[in-house]
Amino acid sequence: MRRIFWGWLILFFFLLVSLFVALGTGPVKISILALSPRDQTILLHLRLPRALSSFFVGAGLALSGAIFQGLFRNPLADSYLLGISSGASLGAAAALILGFTSPVAMFTGVSFFSFLGSLLALSLVFYFGSREGSFSVFRLLLSGLGVGLFFSSLVAILMIMAEEELKALIFFFMGGFSSSTWDSAWVAVTLVPASLAIALCYSRELNVLLLGEETAQSSGVNTRFIQVTYALVAAFLTSISVSVAGLIGFVGLIVPHVVRMIFGADHRILLPFTFLAGGTFLILCDTIAKAVLAPSELPVGVVTSLFGAPFFLYLLRRERGEYGL
């Protein structure tokens, strides 16, 4: 318990520091003691929605990663493997290249259609992953792989059609918060915590599910309900993240693993800690992305992958044998 208490304290401390750094960093020097109307606009309408977007997107991605890994009992499961990200890419590419505009005023065409794309991918994964009303997590995983590959090939076809949009599409694929405003931030700020609340409701059942489906069923857990609920929540989180900030890799993969190594695999602890750690990690990555090449920005996906890829490789090496890889 002592460890958990200190864990909370340290995570909150890091979150506050990273928020403070994110709000204090930028090309315009702002003095908190003498705020001009311009400074207020920058602070309240540019930096704050950006910091909150990066926190909640990071939190959402990490949470969805923790759920996918727990649900599929697979350390490498994430939204990429399940084809959700490919669905989002297809939506974004279609909006950019075919010029689709969003029917909802507050969304850009890219955000709206990447959200639709990920939901479409999710429905297809569930459709092909189930048989006569029942499904197994492995069937879902394979179905995700198939849907993902199919959508990726459609994205490739759209990319061939692209001309000047290609650069924007590449930037989308690398993810980022450079255009964050309240219009996009509110989606993450409201829906990601709501998803966390749902996820926490059944975290005890998710723990039991880790012991195997049969054991869980014999313990009275409605395994099918839990699996569907968590798969929906995780996929929904991914689609929110993609619609707000494009594709950002590795947060969903590394953050849950780090938290699991430190605080163990109990989902009642793992899920909220992953949430906090993922958000804080992405705020820091975004601050680095803003600063390194100023005035130009590095896509935040590049920064997360820069940290994430070596860790991923380390993980691959470490888990060899244990998972039969």
Binding site: G26, I42, H45, I160, K167, S179, P295, S296
Partner: protein, 305 residues
């Protein structure tokens, strides 16, 4: 000296003599082939009378057409300039062999070219098999204005239109000089050029657009960015506070919205309604860059008298 040695010596002498004639651009008019060095440093043997050219890059197609459009037999689906080229495509006198990234080898070979013009490293994937098949493949890969001038002159020599190339360039230089004379009293204005709205993408130090902006009397507020183009955030635009904002034409809808979006109203150019649109084609790499310069100048100061 024995007979075989004499034959060998004569052979070496003849080969040396031949290579002297065939290397460099100033070779003998008697030879059927000449050798030119392309922008990647390859020596390419090209026959003296080139008649069938395939170009895999719009700017190269444009250069060929300005010199002698009849000899362009294959181009890309993105070729738009000059007008004569568009007309010849419609008349099916120019075969479209694909785009810059996806040209069809079969279509290129089908045209039966005696010269294939490619971009730099990015088109080597196509260039290599064509070279292996024995086609002369020449890379024109200019990165700045001097490079464009140089490549245009080389192309002029390859097509035996050296005089025409020099005449066109001299005309451009004269026009440029006149333009500079008329506009030299203008005070330079800080300008922001946005090529894509979400994410916001602008041009940097190494771009053709930067060169055009500066020639037109502007100072690119992101001219310190050491790339062709890059992603930036609105806060940087506010901090650099441009006097004029230029958007690529396709962003009219976005530009209409910016007055309602927070942050944009803090920028002098937005406050004073100094917002202008430019068609992307004006910013292309071309010897006819002056059209783009004049258009940007119009955005910055109004029309040139």
């Amino acid at each position: 000296m024995s007979l075989p040695s004499r034959i060998l010596a004569a052979g070496v002498a003849a080969a040396t003599l031949l290579s002297l004639f065939s290397s460099g651009r100033a070779s003998s008019p008697l030879l059927k082939e000449r050798t030119f060095a392309d922008d990647l440093g390859y020596a390419v043997r090209i026959q003296r009378s080139v008649k069938r050219i395939v170009s895999l890059l719009p700017s190269n197609s444009e250069m060929v057409c300005l010199l002698d459009c009849e000899r362009l037999k294959g181009g890309t689906r993105y070729d738009r300039f000059p007008e004569e080229l568009v007309r010849r495509v419609k008349e099916k006198k120019i075969e479209i062999v694909g785009g810059g990234f996806d040209p069809s080898l079969e279509k290129i070979v089908g045209v039966g070219p005696d010269l294939i013009l490619v971009n730099g490293p990015s088109q080597q994937r196509v260039a290599l098999p064509l070279k292996r098949m024995g086609f002369p493949v020449f890379s024109l890969y200019p990165r700045e204005m001097d490079g464009i001038r140089r490549d245009f002159l080389i192309l002029g020599e390859i097509l035996d239109r050296g005089e025409k190339a020099r005449r066109i360039l001299a005309g451009v230089e004269t026009d440029l000089e006149n333009f500079r004379r008329k506009t030299r009293r203008n005070v330079k204005r800080r300008v922001y050029l946005q090529t894509w709205p979400e994410p916001m993408i602008t041009v940097g130090k190494n771009s053709m657009s930067q060169w055009i902006l500066e020639l037109a009397g502007g100072i690119n507020i992101f001219g310190d960015m050491p790339f062709d183009s890059g992603k930036i955030s609105l806060e940087w635009v506010i901090q650099r506070n441009p006097e004029v904002l230029i958007f690529v034409d396709s962003q009219r809808e976005f530009a209409e919205r910016i007055r309602k979006l927070p942050g944009w109203r803090e920028i002098d150019g937005v406050k004073k309604n100094q917002v202008c649109f430019i068609e992307a084609v004006y910013l292309r790499r071309t010897v006819l860059f002056l059209d783009g310069v004049k258009r940007v100048h119009q955005c910055l100061f109004g029309a040139v008298s």
